[in-house]
Point group: C2
Chain length 277, copies 2
């Protein structure tokens, strides 16, 4: 059974508020909020920080609707798993149908190279008669520490349960992959899509969103005072290029947003503040 | 009639040598040359400068061959013009056929925001029984000056002749377009592809390559001493993001290279040295 749209929006706004408050406190700086309207229907609220700890970061909420859902992108063969309630709708089921989409999307780019970049997203989509949740979170450290990776994954494993964690962390390894560099974007996390809408999947998606702060904040606290020099800073700027490459070449959400006339400023909140090639 | 491959390679290497020598003299710095081999056959020579005038720039030569030409990308409806000898081959004619490709590709990113970014490419491709030339050059100023734009286009108009210039400059406006920003990448130039191989089209392609220095160098000389401050530098770094967006999201050559296992370092020579979002 589909949840009520208003309920999902309320939950997502609440998640956004809790995350923004926690990360602002962690940084000591402030998120600036900007709203935008989508000509076709709906809009969003961007919250951006340019802080000391977080050189750039954004946490965006959006809720949009329209008359025609774009055809489902290719490469979804992966996305069927009846036991977990996952099935990608066919283009015939959803393509060109009225749709509604709401979500929270976050990327944080810390200044200190030893504090990992992080991404989190939860989303709910209705198209035609189909309705599903998607989301995930992944950690991208410049210099990975095994204990940080273990903490991040362990938090997600507890949230997801063993079976779901195994499936969704494998999905993250496949998804957050920079093919032309033959390497993962970072140390992974979880990723899911097309999780059939129900009370249970709504609760699960909220749980993934709520797992973000306990998965990430302890790592930030542990690494934020790590000293670094010019050499590491330069390497960090070059390494950030990989993040741009992933988002602009492979990320479905980014490309979907850009090609469907989404808000460019909100979409590019995910890009690092300063990058070298 | 197809030209001999060796003749084209020789002409392209000569062009690369002349350009590299002129731009190095202009900068006062040096290009560093690196060679790479393509596992599937052939390879290339990158020439990269990290100089004073040119914060980063590259001029790459490559000549590769393989057993299977990838299917022609979509969106070529535009590419038929019998009067000019332009016709995109069909996938059936070239897809999966043995191929040979050689070219010179250049992008220069000046440090001074008032010196425009420039791109130039010439290429020759054989696939199955088809053989064609392609190429072009376009100017991307941070702060456009009408007289510079006029000089650049006038040099190309003289090289191409009026009819060809009109067609190829229109093609450049269509091609170097950043759809999600609803704007051209810069002030245009010329772009062409699928120009049937012949003595004449070989000569034309060489002429476009040779037009690059007289089209660009006078603009560099005029603008290189223009004073600028921190504010302009910051704006320049953000503006460079558009170049990255174009190359990673839309540019056929970049995407073809990345997705077909090309040399990542050579491909990303086109990306700016430092970029802000």
């Amino acid at each position: 059974m589909k949840p009520r749209r208003e309920e999902v929006e309320l939950a997502f706004r609440g998640l956004r508020d809790r995350i923004v408050a926690s990360l602002a406190a962690l940084d000591g700086g402030e998120f600036v909020r900007k709203t935008w309207e989508r000509p076709g229907g709906g809009g969003g609220e961007m919250s951006e920080i340019r802080g000391g700890l977080f050189e750039k970061g954004g946490c965006n909420f959006s809720a949009v609707h329209g008359e025609r859902y774009p055809t489902v992108p290719e490469g979804q063969a992966n996305a069927a798993d009846e036991a977990l309630g996952i099935r990608a709708p066919t283009p015939a089921e959803v393509g060109g149908k009225p749709f509604f989409a709401t979500g929270v999307s976050l990327v944080m780019h810390p200044r200190n190279p030893f504090v990992p970049v992080v991404h989190m997203n939860v989303r709910y989509i209705e198209a035609g008669d189909a309705a599903w949740f998607g989301g995930g979170t992944d950690l991208t450290p410049f210099a990975p520490f095994d204990e940080d990776t273990a903490h991040f994954h362990e938090t997600l494993r507890k949230t997801c349960g063993q079976a779901r964690y195994e499936r969704l962390s494998r999905w993250a390894r496949d998804y957050f992959f920079i093919a032309h560099r033959h390497s993962e974007r970072g140390v992974g996390g979880v990723f899911f899509d097309y999780l059939r809408a129900s009370e249970e999947s709504f609760a699960f998606t909220k749980a993934v969103g709520d797992a973000f702060l306990p998965a990430y904040v302890p790592i930030v606290e542990k690494r934020r005072e790590t000293p670094y020099g010019e050499a590491e800073r330069e390497k960090q700027l070059r390494w950030r290029g990989r993040y741009v490459e992933f988002n602009l070449i492979y990320d479905r959400g980014t490309l979907f947003g850009l090609k469907s006339g989404g808000n460019v400023e909100a979409i590019f909140m995910s890009l690092p503040p300063l990058v070298a090639w």
